[in-house]
């Protein structure tokens, strides 16, 4: 394999590695020393080739290809910089209606309030409020690059729960193990393994009735695999499997609450609406200008070098034809 082909292959690989940061931003790979080392080696290879080619070691084609290598080096350098200096991969799970400081972005994230209907629709949104800069509204699948950070929303399972006593009086719902003590929205920060399934888990309390409720979020598919759920069920809707204990930890009952429905267990009536609410995902990302500029330069350099190569081959063919005649 010639040095030219090897350098081109390394350049393409480096660009692919950096582009992966944009396509699969959640991977922690970009902050590892292995990733930094791979890009560093790629940088060394492409710069070494470009340096030699600039001096004419690879002829006129190499001189032109040196521009492509400069583009690849720009992309690799940007990827290396964002991996080393960009924010750690993080997911900020915010309670609807609350503000969370995001020091990595110099911003505060405002998680839009969400009622039961919004949870069911999965229509939550997050607005980033930055100092001395405009607000950035995120919704749906929108992605934004802010400095060296890529920010986007990740839908997570959520449930809006309400509790009532036997007479139908509304009960306060609390989340004693959560920073959002008074939120009726469960965001399922934990998971529990049940056989082969890993099920989102959250806990809430109805302190007026001294009840602690563990809630497992089952998708319709998951529900079909759960033996306890055998029976007349709406298989198209997710459901909560709730186990209720008293405040001394004694188990009082277990039942299933379908989304939009109610169930009575251990003296309380539980209503749940299931759906999703977004978390804010933050990942390191190379600056867009470096990606666009570097890939553009690489492409132009390759095309320009290709033209030189074609011209050289044509000249060689003409020469051999001339010498044969």
């Amino acid at each position: 394999m010639s040095a030219r082909v090897a350098a081109l292959a390394v350049a393409v690989l480096a660009i692919a590695l950096v582009l992966a940061q944009d396509l699969q931003p959640r991977t922690g790979l970009y902050h590892t020393w292995q990733y930094a080392l791979a890009l560093t080696i790629a940088l060394v290879v492409v710069l070494a080739y470009a340096n030699g080619a600039r001096r004419g070691t690879d002829g006129p084609v190499g001189k032109r290809l040196a521009w492509a290598m400069a583009g690849a080096a720009l992309v690799a350098g940007a990827g290396l910089g964002s991996g080393l200096l960009g924010p750690d991969t993080a997911t900020v799970i915010g309670t609807p209606g609350t503000v969370n400081p995001i020091p990595a972005l110099g911003a505060a994230a405002f998680f839009a309030p969400a009622d039961a209907a919004a949870i069911e629709r999965g229509s939550g949104a997050v607005t980033l409020r930055r100092r001395q800069a405009g607000d950035v509204a995120l919704g749906g699948t929108a992605r934004r690059v802010l400095g060296e950070s890529l920010v986007y929303l990740e839908p997570r399972p959520a449930a809006y729960v309400e509790a009532f006593d036997e007479r139908g009086a509304h009960l306060t719902v609390t989340q004693p193990t959560n920073s959002s003590f008074l939120s009726p929205v469960l965001l399922f920060r934990e998971r529990q393994r049940i056989g082969a399934l890993s099920v989102p888990l959250d806990t809430f309390a109805a302190p007026a009735r001294k009840r602690v409720v563990r809630a497992l979020y089952f998708t319709p598919d998951g529900l079909a695999q759960f033996r306890h759920a055998a029976g007349p069920l709406d298989r198209a809707r997710p459901a909560l499997v709730v186990t209720v204990a008293d405040d001394a930890g004694r188990q009082l009952g277990i039942t299933l609450v379908p989304s939009g429905g109610e169930a009575i267990v251990a003296g309380i009536r539980i209503r749940a609406t299931l759906g999703s609410y977004p978390a804010l995902a933050i990942a390191a990302a190379p600056p867009t200008w470096a990606l666009v500029g570097g890939i553009g330069l690489f492409g132009l350099g390759v095309v320009w070098a290709g033209l030189a190569l074609r011209a050289a081959r044509a000249a060689a063919l003409n020469e051999s034809a001339a010498s044969a005649s």
Binding site: G28, H31, T32, W33, Y35, A36, L37, T40, L43, V44, L47, A48, L80, G83, L84, D88, T89, A90, T91, V92, I93, G94, T95, P96, G97, T98, V99, N100, P101, I102, P103, A104, P113, D115, G168, A169, H170, L171, T172, V173, S179, S180, F181, L182, S183, P184, P207, A208
Partner: protein, 173 residues
């Protein structure tokens, strides 16, 4: 060759400086104390008598918001002091008791039994509680005349502590 080695050394240097990922980090702030200076959020709810009310309707006044519930022992213990504070500061400070998550009948019955005369709002959806970052009950939030939070306090207050808490808001014009 020497130049190449220098380039290699310079380029390898960054790979030694990497910092590992911290996927579990969640930088959410905690507690009502961090709300000072923030605009006071308001939600339209109903009083125990069924009339509509909200924090925004009291804009221009110094407001002491008390988030509470009937099942909460410290809230019940704090209630006489709160009633006394409301009585002593009528015309200077508006006291709003906002019941969290309970039915109007439950909150009204409790308020009647304790001789509460200040407005009691019923927030069944617990909107005030989560917005004001309550980490427990009772939670007290002092809102200035400009509609911004002056102070947020977790836990029950004595009468003297209530006076101290509203003093900065009263001092502001």
């Amino acid at each position: 060759m020497r130049r190449t080695l220098i380039i290699v050394a310079l380029l390898l240097l960054p790979s030694a400086c990497y910092s590992g990922p911290d996927p579990g980090r969640n930088p959410s702030g905690g507690g009502p104390a961090g709300l000072s200076g923030a605009p006071a959020q308001s939600f339209e709810v109903r009083r125990t008598d069924g009339s509509p009310d909200s924090l925004a309707r009291h804009r221009g006044q110094v407001v002491l918001v008390n988030l509470w519930a009937t099942w909460c022992p410290p809230c019940r213990e704090e209630m006489p002091a709160l009633q006394q504070f409301a009585k002593q500061n009528a015309g200077k400070v508006t006291v709003l008791g906002i019941d969290q998550g309970e039915s109007a009948e439950v909150a009204a019955a409790f308020a009647r039994s304790r001789g509460v005369t200040f407005p009691v709002l019923v927030d069944e959806k617990q909107q005030y509680g989560r917005t004001y970052a309550a980490v427990g009950l009772p939670t007290t939030v002092i809102v200035g005349r400009d509609g911004h939070v002056v102070r947020g306090i977790d836990g029950p207050l004595t009468l003297a502590q209530m006076r101290d808490a509203v003093a900065p808001a009263l001092a502001r014009k």
